[in-house]
Subunit: 118 residues, 2 copies
């Protein structure tokens, strides 16, 4: 369940889940013991409850994600570049997902900084 | 030495170093105890000697790298999307660099798979 086709589908689901504020889809993507570090260098959100709380904060913001390049799959991981539009603000981000054997995301790390927001 | 401006400069140097087959520039980028995992999921090259041996293999291949999006800097890391042209082949890759306090790369992980080569 960590073949490239599965990982790409999960990435597509993630883009859609965020853009439609669908927390049930987010729940499906992550392992129960998953972690989210967004952006890299800040404290991790550990476990599905903390993860859903983190994503719950986007409710009502109208965030729209759009892939800006190919999903790169390697080993048990997928990295992908995208733009996030939040109101008048655009951010350029690269996310890295790591998957377990069940095909669930165990680690998400988001790379972006102040200079990627405009 | 892990500020965004420094990390972006190192990424630019890396793109140039590979595209001009300049191993001295590569040597400057990495920490002595650095590691390279390219692609992710394959055995790491550990230490500067192994790293230089790895990059030495590109000599004469005429590899050309081109950034295809913003360098994303977060914490002590930088992630960037690029295309690698090797003869008639193009590959879409995302690299993640992690830096030490001296501003040298301690970890490089390259995300790409068969479906990113065409």
């Amino acid at each position: 369940m960590t073949d490239a086709a599965h990982m790409k589908q999960v990435v597509e689901n993630y883009i859609k889940a965020i853009s439609t504020e669908n927390l049930d889809m987010i729940r499906e993507i992550y392992a129960d013991n998953g972690t989210v570090e967004d952006p890299v260098g800040t404290p991790q959100h550990e476990g599905i409850d903390a993860i859903l709380k983190f994503y719950g904060a986007i409710k009502g913001l109208g965030v729209k994600l759009e892939l800006t390049g190919a999903v790169r799959c390697a080993g048990n991981a997928a990295a992908f570049p995208f733009k996030a539009k939040i109101g008048p603000t655009t951010m350029e981000v690269i996310d890295v997902f790591e998957f377990n054997e069940a095909g669930k995301v165990t680690s998400m790390r988001a790379y972006w900084g102040a200079e990627n927001r405009y």
